[in-house]
Amino acid sequence: MTDIALTTTHNPSRNWGRIALRWLLFTLLGLFALFYLMPLFVMVTTSLKSLEEIRTGSLVAFPREVTFEAWRTAWSGACTGIQCEGLRPYFWNSVILAIPAVLISTMLGALNGYVIAQWKFKGANLIFSLMLFGCFIPFQVVLLPMARMLGMMGIAGTIPGLIFVHVIYGIGFTTLFFRNYYVSIPQELVKAAKVDGAGFFRIFWSIFLPLSLPIIVVTVIWQFTQIWNDFLFGVSFSQAGTQPVTVALNNIVNSTTGVKEYNVDMAAAIIAALPTLLVYVVAGKYFIRGLTAGSVKG
């Protein structure tokens, strides 16, 4: 048999095999995607159905009649225990809790990372390792000491108290992000700026912060997701009126009496999840870019 005979007889079948494999791959991936989208589909359709339809219809069916009544109830009428104000007040609690907590922890992380990476001092590595260790302390361990601490500071059960907790807990991660980003920036940059007469904060503000957009985006997404989705700190360190949206969602779902309003529960869950989804959609591409940016030279 010659080479020519080989190619003429084998090439078409190999091509077919490749195409079949490609189709198999896409079909499989499509199935996975459908599988992952299923819960969201059920949540959205259920939230748009009336209670009557939920009881009589199938779980995966489209709504026969689209109604936003459940969304309205979830936002402003659902009962969390004795009050029936919906998610709205708690949603705003989460907003005024998450925004300052994210900004403060990101800012402190940037400063810490800058000091540890570029202004090496005695014990810098030890402090960094300790901060890193802080990332891996389970939440439950700090609950009691933190409660005592908040009490002593007089901010127990308040939103500033929760902000404080989240900032403290977030510093470990934010410092890690910024330190790893800044450590790849040549030390000569700081030296040049020192010779130019710039001081510690001037160098940070004029040279390092403008370089940091990718890592700031990463840190903000990370911190926002952590803080917005936090339940344990929210439920432990808040009281009536200062609860974040995650706690309120739990109360709506778990404290209903009588008939379970699945449509309201679903709508409430989607509302509570929307902001983190939004942050990913808006800044997601920077997130990927930022995670890989450490290797890129400035």
């Binding site: 040549p186 000569e188 940059l189 030296k191 040049a192 700026a193 020192k194 010779v195 130019d196 007469g197 710039a198 001037r202 004029s206 040279i207 403008p210 370089l211 400035g298």
Partner: protein, 365 residues
């Protein structure tokens, strides 16, 4: 004239490791001081100490007649060019150059005037609005120089500024720095590991090894009368021939005997050298060994040598012969008749000879 930079008894330790030991250097205004040595010899650390970027362990540094030992970098009246250029990546070229003035609070009109002056001098006017990332290596180098020039300092510090450029650009920038030094009549301190850069640029060279000054002198002094074996070997390319030899005093001076494998010892007579120990290392640069008849002088002595290798290099031809167990290189004219495996009469110019003690490596004559 008072020295513009005066370093006295400088020591620098990192923990228990001594990086620099008892450095004493002084330079006059207009000098071009080059710190040269192999990597890890402490030359960059010394420059950082002069800049105030590294604290020193002991000693003093005076700049412009003032004690600057504990003064912060910005108040030392210096400007520095770094190996990686260290341009601020998010700022335009213009902002890079004016950043120092902005920090010091110089008014905008003066900033603009100085920026234009420097840009013109370095021919970087078309680049002023670009970011460093959009520049080539040579252009970045110019911007880094511009940032130093705009300051008009008492002392310019250069930390291996040419080592990131390709060979051709390096030679170009080297002559530009030399021109700049001449035109500005500026005082410069320049760190390099390249001994050719050191020779071509310097008015004064400091050779460092292991944090210890080996020799301080003009390029000619360093080249012609190296203080020890290290300097002799480090400076010059190809390196100085260092040949083990025996010295015996006789009536006319000193008889120098060099062993040769499979032949009678090579015997030279140095009429100037006196009081040499018996074992010495004889140092002679390749250009001080010529083909017989091409070098004249009362200290030139000729001897037949077996040629092992001939390397034509265009302008010259290098021949290698085995003397005293070492490969000895001689630099002959291009049209030499030397053939490998044949004997050739070589002329040794003993007026240029150096003698070193084999153990300590110190110069003997």
């Amino acid at each position: 004239m008072a020295p513009i930079l005066d370093i006295k008894n400088l020591y620098k330790n990192y923990g228990s490791v001594e990086i620099l030991k008892d450095i004493n250097v002084a330079i006059e205004p207009g000098d071009f001081l080059v710190l040269v040595g192999p990597s890890g010899c402490g030359k960059s650390t010394l420059l950082n100490c002069i800049a105030g970027l590294e604290p020193i362990t002991a000693g003093t540094i005076d700049i412009g007649g003032r004690d600057m030992t504990h003064v912060s970098p910005k108040d030392r009246d210096i400007a520095m060019v770094f190996q990686s250029y260290a341009l601020y990546p998010t700022m335009s070229v213009a902002k890079n150059i004016t950043f120092g003035m902005k920090v010091r609070g110089v008014d905008a009109a003066t900033q603009e005037k100085k920026l234009q002056e420097v840009a013109q001098q370095l021919q970087i006017e078309p680049l002023l609005q670009r970011r460093p990332g959009q520049l080539s290596g040579g252009q970045r180098q110019r911007v880094a120089m511009g940032r130093a020039l705009v300051r008009d300092p008492k002392l310019f510090l250069f930390d291996e500024p040419l080592s990131n450029l390709d060979a051709k650009l390096r030679v170009e920038m080297r002559s530009e720095i030399k021109k700049l030094h001449h035109n500005l009549n500026a005082t410069m301190v320049y760190v390099t590991h390249d001994q050719i850069e050191a020779m071509t640029l310097a008015t004064k060279i400091v050779v460092l090894k292991g944090g210890i000054v080996q020799q301080i002198g003009s390029p000619a002094e360093i080249y012609n009368t190296p203080a020890n074996l290290f300097v002799a070997d480090f400076m010059g390319s190809p390196a100085m021939n260092l040949i083990p030899a025996r010295a015996k005093a006789n009536g006319k001076g000193t008889k120098i005997e060099i062993e040769r494998a499979g032949a009678a010892p090579l015997v030279l007579t140095d009429t100037h050298a006196k009081d040499l120990p018996e074992d010495v290392i004889l140092g002679l640069r390749p250009e001080d060994i010529a083909e017989a008849g091409f070098r004249a002088g009362e200290d030139v002595q000729e001897a037949d040598c077996l040629i092992d290798m001939v390397e034509p290099a265009g302008a010259d031809t290098y021949v290698v012969s085995q003397l005293g167990g070492k490969q000895v290189t001689a630099r002959l004219h291009a049209e030499t008749n030397a053939r490998p495996g044949e004997n050739l009469s070589l002329a040794f110019d003993l007026s240029k000879v150096s003698y070193f003690a084999p153990e300590s490596g110190e110069r003997l004559n």
